[in-house]
């Protein structure tokens, strides 16, 4: 009997060059959710998005970290395989937005996998096949989720947000992809119908555990048989902080690298299998990561040959990275998720997001482009409104990607804005390291300490949801090192891996 189609291409040299992770800095105590519904309980804390974060901004941050760890320029990546159960646009250019923000070539391939929290695994599997088939030489795989649990569901006390990015090569790496198996059963686990805002829970927790989760995971693992070495470390599903133990018992896992992830960040959906594997990627040996959801379970075996670049900083991201974490309230989380809505009609912004002005202005913001004068070298930002040089008036210029770090020239902290803006909101004029100057929003947590002369780096954020459409652009974050002071400027303008900053110096697109 031949190997089932879902069990993959067999032995291939496909390998892992680097990994990156990103989690929002906000932490919601699960117990606070319980209190909100007049209940006791709730364990651990959940990594939750602020109003300007979503699965796309987290994906961008993880991608930057992974590319930096892999030493690969964004423009040289063959394609983007992104898995998320809930893309920011249910229909629309989610993948294209992310590709532009990461800085991929416009000819890059890939796909957006969705539909369940199995989507991250789906993205990995699809990229693996593309690499094995020789369609691309390298692939960026991202698993990210920022699910919106239904109000009053048990998942509210368990749902976190996070992203993991893997850079894969057709020609080996620090870890090799060894084997995989997927098994499918048409069962209803978590679900969200068309038009529903929040994800619904399984019908009955015991039924889900006994007849869906455990049998489904076991069937995928059983299919791998002895291709999972006895000493493998396991990343296993743990959607509520308790089921992980039962799953480990069911598959006979002795060493579980995903232990301890849930209490810190909650269930991160598509990203969970990969976050759970990080602790196993820092040292050599076999790893088995299992993802489940949407009636499908997949087990993947990796062989870590040398510590995977980026795995250490990615693990640190679970703790919030260099910026640390901050406690947030249940009400603020509901507002960020769009579940707490004021009675008054929102005031629409000036320009509809489908309009010509947006079409002209969107890509240059996502890709953070400037117009560099061919004569005097001055960089004007953004290009669409600068047909000539602002310094010398020359008409000859080319598009460049701007540096992603710089120094604060001056700033304000805006306290008085109508929705969708949330105060306090710093805005800073920043002298970027390439000599250009921009003015961008900052992070609320930097409002108190921001000062002229501070070093900052740029992060992709969701500026607004306008008429239902997410609008993305860059904001600045104050850089602090672990001693509390600003770190020295690095030669190439990039920052630490967990911060997720891509050096695009090698990826400049030149157009006349």
């Amino acid at each position: 009997m031949s190997q089932p189609a879902s069990d993959g291409p067999g032995p291939s040299p496909v390998g892992l060059l680097g990994v990156g992770a990103a989690l929002p800095s906000g932490r919601l105590a699960a117990a606070d959710v319980a209190v909100g519904w007049g209940q006791a309980g709730g364990r651990g804390s959940l990594a939750v998005c602020g109003p300007d974060e979503d699965c796309l901004t987290l994906a961008w941050a993880a991608a930057g970290a992974a590319l930096a760890a892999a030493g690969l320029a964004a423009a040289d990546v063959g394609g983007l395989w992104w898995g998320t159960a809930r893309p920011p646009l249910a229909e629309g250019p989610s993948l294209a937005f992310l590709a532009a923000a990461v800085g991929l070539d416009t000819a890059s391939g890939g796909l957006l996998a969705g539909g369940s929290v199995h989507a991250g695994i789906d993205a990995l599997v699809a990229a693996w096949d593309a690499l094995a088939a020789g369609s691309v030489a390298s692939a960026l795989v991202i698993a990210s989720d920022a699910l919106v649990p239904g109000l009053g569901t048990g998942a509210e006390k368990a749902t976190g947000a996070g992203a993991v990015a893997l850079v894969l090569s057709a020609d080996g790496g620090a870890a090799r992809l060894v084997a995989r198996a997927t098994r499918v059963r048409p069962l209803l686990d978590r679900y969200r119908g068309d038009g529903q805002a929040g994800t619904g829970d399984p019908y009955d927790p015991r039924l889900y555990r006994e007849r869906e989760l455990l049998p489904s995971v076991a069937s995928a693992v059983d299919a791998l048989g002895d291709r999972v070495p006895a000493h493998a470390r396991w990343s296993l599903p743990d959607p509520d902080g308790r089921l992980g133990k039962a799953v480990a018992q069911a598959v006979g896992a002795r060493s579980v690298s995903s232990e301890g992830v849930f209490p810190r960040v909650g269930d991160t959906g598509s990203a969970a299998p990969f976050l759970g594997a990080l602790a196993a990627l820092v040292e050599p040996g076999p790893v088995c990561l299992v993802g489940t959801g949407g009636g499908r379970s997949t087990a993947v075996v990796l062989d870590v040959i040398t510590p995977v670049p980026g795995a250490g900083p990615a693990l640190a991201a679970l703790e919030g990275g260099a910026g640390g974490t901050r406690a947030v309230t249940y009400a603020s989380v509901l507002r960020s998720r769009g579940q707490l809505v004021p009675l008054a009609d929102p005031v629409p912004m000036g320009v509809p997001p489908g309009s010509a002005a947006f079409v002209r202005g969107s890509e240059e913001i996502l890709s953070l482009e400037g117009r560099k004068c061919s004569v005097c070298g001055t960089i004007a930002v953004p290009p669409s409104i600068h047909p000539v040089c602002i310094a010398c008036g020359n008409e000859s210029g080319r598009l460049v990607h701007l540096a992603r770090s710089g120094t604060v020239q001056t700033f304000v902290v805006n306290h008085t804005m109508p929705p969708p803006f949330e105060a306090p909101l710093p805005l800073a004029v920043v002298d970027l390291d390439d000599g250009s100057r921009v003015m961008l929003q900052g992070m609320p947590e930097d409002a108190a300490a921001l000062a002229i002369g501070d070093r900052v780096h740029l992060e992709l954020r969701r500026y607004a949801l306008e008429r239902g459409v997410p609008v993305y652009g860059f904001k600045v974050r104050r850089r602090i090192d672990h001693n509390g002071g600003p770190p020295p400027a690095s030669a190439n303008g990039t920052t630490g891996a967990a911060a997720g900053v891509v050096d695009l110096a090698g990826a400049r697109r030149e157009r006349s």
Binding site: V347, M349, G350, V351, S355, A357, F358, R360, G361, S362, I365, A380, V381, P382, S384, I385, I390, Q409, T410, F411, V412, V413, N414, H415, T416, M417, P418, P419, F421, P424, L425, L427, V429, V430, R437, V438, M439, Q441, A447, I452, Y463, A464, V471, G473
Partner: protein, 392 residues
Amino acid sequence: MSWNRVAVVGGGLIRFGELFDQSYEKMAHGAFSAAVASVDKGFEPTQVEAAIVATQRGTLWGQEGIGGNTVPTAIGLAGVPCTRVENACPSGSDAFRIGAMVVASGVHDVVLVIGVEKMRDKSTDEGLLSRAAAGHPIYNRAETAPVLFAPFATRHMYEFGTTREMLASVAVKNHHNGTLDPYAHFQSEITVEQVLASPPVCHPLHLLDCCPQTDGAAAVILVNAERAREFTDKPVWVAGFGVATDHPYLHEKSTFTGLPVTTAAAERAYAMAGVGPDQMDMAEVHDCFTITEILDIEDLGFVEKGKGGVASLEGETAIGGRIPVNPSGGLLSKGHPIGATGVAQITECYWQLRGEVGERQVEIRHGNALQHNVGGRGSGVSVVNILTTNNP
């Protein structure tokens, strides 16, 4: 310079404030009537040969967007040539400059310049948001009006040691002056402590560092200087004017300790008038925020760069000081109905030079007064007009 000299022979305005009970048209009519009534020897509305209307935010705020069409009917002059001028916060002062040029050209001898602005017909939130979304559709976000000036305060404090107390002293002075001006939106004294303790709006600016949102209208009548005596024995002459532009976005600015656009406009106006800042008896300048007045008095040449805060704190710009600034109360106290603001400032200069404003009268030694507005997306437009009692 070969241009027909221009005289101001009348000026008037309505009491500025939240005029919920007055339409755009009613405000225009009120200002026009006040200007007509102010002419010493009498003035028939039908003597107006052409009108220039300043309304800045018409199309954005839902008020009558086509002011050049709306105002003639509102003031009983349907049929008169009329054009709307929009040039950001200096719309009113630029309408005055253009009106002066129309008279100077010899095409018309009697021109009405009228500024009208409805700021309060839409909610504060909506007003803030329309400002916050101006410019590039994505790049410029959350840039409410204070964001366009507060970065200058941050940097001015950093470079020169300017303090919040110095900023506050501008608001205290202008609110005091406003108590002496029956047309001012606010007519009560405030203290430095109150300014410092007011809620933060946009760090480092607090609520009382900011001008209010105000409805208002103002009008002046310009005539060919050769005909001025038909209307008054105390005409005030247009001595000079200047307008300048700069890049509109803050990240394009060459400095955050001043507005070179104002210096450029002032240099043109001073050159045209043949006078300098030392020969001004008073100035009505753009104080949308306290920091703006400090930048203005430096950029206009009244005080050395970096010394604007100290000069304000020490009373150099008070009525009775070395160079009285904003005796009308300024934008901070009188209010800032954008299109009307510059025209109302001209009216104040006209009255001051004629010695007609009672308690807030400044000493007239040289016979010169300066009017100034600056604004735009990022203070990209500045206009300076100079009036004089010295014969042309």
